[in-house]
């Protein structure tokens, strides 16, 4: 394949794309899991728990992601036990630390999105379910959480989109993802427009498919939407 | 009678998709008249009044305001609308402006009159609707009745020859209906030309010159209040009147 770029450059680019997708997938799964934990911890009665979650969220919302990434890359290894540090340096430390930083940053926002979804469910829904004889867990599982997820879905999709785009920040600490590879090839060939054009199209494909997936999910999660369209 | 016609509908039709909301409407309103438009919900009375200042387009037919074809292509709607006041069911005061600024908005920003002149006029109008002391308040602090009276003052600020009311008391709590009707009656007695979509039958009887009854987009009855209330001969009018009076 010699279309637009020589094959070795295509290989570099797709290697970068693979890293971008991997980084996004790992960071997103970590972020979502952590967000759920944060929401549950925040909901407990202990002031220390609430306070620490709030502090965690405030830190990640008010400090630039690039600085968070740099913090993990330059500063955090100092705090880690020697064993873990050496293990990291043997196992693509840039990638691991970038994934951690991206996951933590996105988790803070996702936790807030889920929490506002939960708060949007009127207390009467909870009372109605309990009045029908549902247990606390049943009420949460069948009544509250499904409604809350539906409300949180659009902002969560938006967060996923941002996370996908923000993986490009990992290039600043040398993770060889798509933006990094793009710059590398540009430096090599000065074929600026072609290489940046291709990278841009690849990013657009990624974000647009995420958007499409998001709206498919939203359609599926909204029963009765079809009927309303006809009315 | 030498009174001049100010609003004239001539065979006006209007559709929403397949549904016809105005059906061959022809009627005239003369200067100084107070016309009450009533009818069951969905009868087209709100649509009718909203076509007069072109908030709603018409399908065909002709509609003139003071001799100007409202829905003709070249008509300067902004200029036309300055000569017809409109009072909404939901008041629609501008919540980000004080009461005084609501009333001076059109004179200052549309008619380009001086602030001093506009404020004198506005304070005068607010006094007429009994709200002189509220000039500096924001609409959010006023009751529904007070907001509607401000809305009337705002509509009067352009000194229009005719003023339209679209169910001005329907959104009000019952205890506030009286204060708004009082302002409207005072206006009527001063000789203002008014077209009011309303179910306030007391108002129609007391100051109305004519009552128009609409049903399914047609003008069914166009008569005097006395005949309308005391000798209704149309079955739909009878049913309507008994519904409004709460007789079942």
């Amino acid at each position: 394949m010699n279309f637009l770029l020589p094959p070795d450059q295509w290989a570099m680019l797709f290697g970068g794309l693979r890293t971008t997708i991997l980084l996004f997938a790992i960071a997103w799964i970590g972020a979502f899991a952590l967000a759920l934990i944060l929401v549950i911890v925040r909901a407990t009665d202990y002031r220390v728990c609430r306070w620490s979650v709030d502090a965690f969220v405030a830190y990640h919302r008010n400090v630039p992601l690039l600085v968070q990434v740099m913090f993990w890359y330059f500063a955090m290894p100092e705090l880690l036990p020697e064993g873990i540090r050496f293990w990291l340096y043997d196992h693509n430390a840039e990638f691991c630390l970038a994934a951690i930083a991206l996951a933590l940053g996105s988790a803070a926002y996702q936790a807030e999105d889920i929490r506002s979804g939960l708060r949007a469910i009127p207390g009467t829904q909870f009372e109605a379910a309990r009045a029908l004889g549902c247990t606390y867990m049943e009420t949460m599982r069948f009544i509250v959480v499904p409604q809350a997820l539906r409300i949180s879905l659009p902002p969560l999709v938006g967060r996923a989109l941002l996370l996908f785009k923000n993986t490009s920040i990992a290039m600043a600490i040398g993770v060889a993802e798509l933006t990094y590879r793009t710059r590398e090839i540009e430096n090599l060939t000065f074929n600026t427009f072609t290489i940046f054009g291709i990278a841009t199209v690849l990013y657009l494909l990624g974000t647009f498919s995420l958007m499409a997936f998001g709206s498919w999910l939203e359609r599926r999660a909204t029963p009765g939407r079809k009927e309303r369209h006809h009315a | 009678m030498t009174q001049s016609v100010i609003v004239r509908f001539d065979k006006v039709n209007k559709w929403y998709g397949q549904h016809q909301v105005l059906h061959d409407v022809s009627l005239e309103v003369k200067k100084g008249e107070v016309v009450v438009v009533c009818g069951p919900s969905g009868s087209g009375k709100s649509t009718l009044i909203r076509t007069i200042n072109a908030l709603e387009p018409i399908g065909n037919g002709s509609l003139t305001l003071d001799g100007i074809a409202v829905h003709a292509k070249g008509t300067d709607l902004n200029k036309l609308r300055q000569s017809v006041g409109f009072v909404f069911q939901q008041f629609n005061l501008f919540p980000h402006m004080s009461v005084l600024d609501n009333v001076t908005f059109a004179p200052i920003r549309i008619q380009k009159r001086s602030r001093a002149e506009a404020e004198t006029l506005a304070r005068d109008l607010l006094a007429r609707v009994g709200l002189a002391e509220k000039a500096g308040s924001f609409p959010g602090f006023l009751s529904g009745g007070q907001q509607q009276r401000v809305a009337i003052a705002r509509a009067l600020a352009l000194q229009p020859p005719v003023i339209l009311f679209d169910e001005p008391t329907s959104a009000l709590d019952p205890e506030m209906v009286g204060e708004v009707l009082q302002v409207m009656k005072a206006l009527a007695r001063d000789g203002m030309t008014m077209i009011c979509v309303t179910h306030e039958m007391g108002f129609a009887r007391e100051v109305g010159d004519r009552v128009i009854f609409m049903d399914q987009g047609r003008v069914v009855v166009d008569t005097t209040p006395d005949l309308f209330f005391d000798a209704p001969d149309h079955p739909r009018v009878k049913r309507f009147l008994s519904d409004v009076r709460g007789e079942h």
Binding site: A75, M76, T179, A199, Y203 | N53, Q82, F86, F105
Partner: protein, 229 residues
């Protein structure tokens, strides 16, 4: 850590100025304020276009906004970095490249915020203004926009905070802003990254946190004054 602050606080605040170029926090704030000010009118125009009566205008503006929102800011910065000099024929400083990219990027996001605000103003407000004889632009300027912008003040605030944070990406094209200054200090000290990056994070945190709190206070007080609470 206190020692670093004592020795380098001027670098963090204003870079090498007055002996060299202005940088540090001052530069960060200048870039953020300039970008948001420039993006604002563009965002308003795009929001109006997206709600316009003309289908082609709606489609064109939606396409452009989604295009910008679909690519990473870093990509946009590189585009500006490479394309502006080629298009204009002049070498453009990193400062203007960053301001340009941030303006475009923020205009796209801000236009969505403002569009939501305009859509949330009840239809009756437009009808009232039009009934008084107000034209499209007077209705927009006098009635719709003041309410729409006020309603989405929290969204505008958070967009502004985002912009402040995004200026840090200027580091990648060597714009002399706060993150860049911190990295310079880090390179001088070599052995104290934990302290340097803690200071860096703390400065951003204080700036953004105080700003968002302050602006939401301001909003509450205006709401109270207008009887909207």
């Amino acid at each position: 850590m206190l020692e670093i602050i004592q020795d380098y606080w001027l670098t963090f605040l204003i870079g090498q100025y007055p002996n060299g170029p202005l940088g540090g926090l001052a530069m960060t704030i200048i870039v953020a304020v300039l970008s948001i000010l420039m993006s604002f009118p563009i965002a308003v125009a795009f929001a109006m276009a997206r709600l316009s009566a003309f289908g082609w205008l709606r489609a064109a503006s939606a396409g452009l906004v989604n295009l910008v929102r679909g690519i990473p800011l870093l990509m946009l910065i590189f585009w500006c970095y490479f394309v502006i000099p080629i298009m204009t024929g002049y070498a453009v400083s990193g400062f203007w490249t960053l301001v340009c990219a941030l303006t475009i990027y923020e205009a796209a996001y801000l236009s969505e915020v403002i569009r939501a605000g305009m859509a949330s103003v009840p239809k009756g407000q437009t009808e009232a203004a039009r009934s008084l004889g107000g034209g499209y632009f007077l209705t927009m300027r006098g009635v719709i926009l003041p309410q729409a912008l006020f309603n989405v003040l929290p969204g505008i605030t958070s967009q502004f905070i985002s912009t402040i944070k995004e200026t840090s990406l200027g580091y990648v094209i060597a714009v002399n802003e706060l993150t860049f200054a911190a990295n310079q200090v880090n390179n001088l000290l070599l052995t104290q990254p934990l302290q340097v990056f803690t200071i860096l994070a703390a400065i951003y945190f204080i700036l953004c946190f105080v700003l968002s709190r302050g602006l939401s206070r301001l909003e509450t007080s205006i709401r109270r004054k207008r009887g909207l609470l």
